[in-house]
Assembly symmetry: C2
Homo-oligomer: 225 residues x 2
C-alpha cells in the first residue's frame, strides 16, 4: 500500500517498501517527531540542538566506516563511484556544517570531547560496526537506507520558507536536496536488488535501525544531569 | 640517505623512506620510465595512452575498494575524513578525466569492455583485494603509499609548460597538485605511525606494489596481437 499511487496498486511492492511498512509505527513516529516539527519552525532550543549535533557528529564517524565498508563490498563499479562521491560530500560539506554549527552554538572542543555517548549513540555505533563486519552488502545497505531515507522523508516535508537560523535551515537542506534524493533512490534500488536473497538479515537490521533513529531524536530532549 | 638533506643525516630515517629504499631500483626505474618521459613532452602515441588508460580505469575500480577498506580500518576520525575527501575526488574529478580522455582518444565503450586485463592489471587487482582483505590498516596503507607517492614523485618532476594535449597535461596535474601532495604526506605519516609494528607485512606489500607499478608502464608499450 505504501508504494501504491492514485488508488491503484498494480505495481509489485518494492522490497524497501516492505521493510519500511514492517518498521511501523517506529518509522512514522520518527519522521513526525517533535524534534522535526521544532526544526521546521526553528524552535529547537540551542541546548537541545547542541546535544543532538554532538551525538550526530559521533554518529558520522561510524557512518563513514559503514559507507567505506559498503563501497568495499559493492558489486559494481558504478555503485562504488556513487558511494565514493557521497563519501566525499559527507567528509567535506557535511562535516564543515557541523564545525560551523558548533561554533554558532558555542560548543567548544572540550565539551564535544567530554560529553559521553548516549545509549542510543552507543547502539548506533554498535549496529554500524556490526553491519560493516558482516561484509554483507545487503546488511550495510539496510542500515544506510534507514539512516538516509528516513531523513529524506522528514526533510521532504519541510514547509517553505526554511528557518532563518542556518543551524536549522542547513540541516534540513542537507537532507532534502535533489542530490540527496538521488542518493537515497540509488540506495533503495540497490537494496531492492540484493536484499531479497537475505531478507531476514535485512529485516533485522532495518527494524533495529529505525528504533535507534526514534531514540536518537528522543535523546536530544533527555536532560542528563 | 634518501631522507637526509644538505649533506646531514641527523633526522631518523622515516619508515616509508626505508620502504622506498628497499624497493630500489624498481622505484627509480618506474619514476624515470619512458612512459613518464614521453608524457612530459606529450609524445606518447595515442594507442599507448589508450591502452594505458583503459587498464588504469580498471585499476581505479579496485583502488576505490582499497580506499574504502582503508577508510573502514583507519583508527581515527580525522583519518576517515581525509580518506573520505580523497575518495570523493577520485570518484568525481578523476573518473570524469577518464571519460573525457576516452572520448578524445576515440575509445568507445565496447573497446573498453572488450580489452582483456593485462597480467599487471590482474596482479594489481589481486594485491589490492589481498590488502583490503587483511583488514590491516598498515597493509592497505602500504599499497596506497606506493600507488600515490610514486605518482607524486614523477609528476613533481614535470617541466613547465605542460603539454598542450589535456589527456597528457591533466594526467600530470592530477598527481602533481598541492592537494595531492597533501594527501601523500598524510598517507606517509599514517604508515610511518602504524607500519613499524607490522614491518614485514609492509615491506612485502610495498615491494610487490612497486614491481607492479613498473610493469604497468611497461605493459602500455607491449603490443598484444
Amino acid at each position: 500500500m505504501i508504494e501504491s499511487s492514485a488508488g491503484t496498486n498494480i505495481m509489485p511492492e518494492r522490497f524497501t517498501g516492505t521493510l519500511r511498512a514492517a518498521s511501523e509505527p517506529g518509522w512514522s513516529d520518527a519522521v513526525g517527531h517533535r524534534f522535526v516539527k521544532e526544526l521546521f519552525t526553528g524552535a529547537i532550543p540551542d541546548a537541545v540542538m547542541a546535544r543532538y549535533l554532538i551525538q550526530d557528529h559521533r554518529f558520522l564517524d561510524s557512518f563513514l566506516t559503514l559507507l567505506g565498508a559498503a563501497l568495499a563490498s559493492a558489486d559494481t563499479f558504478e555503485a562504488r563511484l556513487r558511494f565514493g562521491r557521497f563519501i566525499g560530500m559527507v567528509s567535506g560539506e557535511e562535516n564543515t556544517y557541523f564545525l560551523r554549527a558548533f561554533e554558532a552554538l558555542g560548543v567548544m572542543e572540550d565539551r564535544r570531547a567530554a560529553d559521553p555517548d548516549t545509549l542510543t549513540t552507543t547502539g548506533f555505533k554498535a549496529i554500524m560496526r556490526e553491519a560493516a563486519e558482516t561484509r554483507s552488502y545487503a546488511a550495510a545497505l539496510s542500515v544506510l537506507v534507514v539512516a538516509e531515507w528516513l531523513y529524506l522523508d522528514w526533510a521532504s516535508r519541510a514547509p517553505q520558507p526554511l528557518p532563518d537560523n542556518f543551524v536549522h535551515a542547513e540541516w534540513i537542506m542537507l537532507h532534502g536536496n535533489p542530490d540527496f534524493r538521488g542518493f537515497v533512490d540509488f540506495l533503495r534500488a540497490e537494496l531492492d536488488r540484493v536484499g531479497p536473497a537475505q531478507a531476514d538479515l535485512c529485516h533485522d537490521f532495518f527494524r533495529r535501525a529505525v528504533a535507534l533513529e526514534l531514540s536518537f531524536f528522543e535523546a536530544a530532549y533527555a536532560d542528563r544531569t
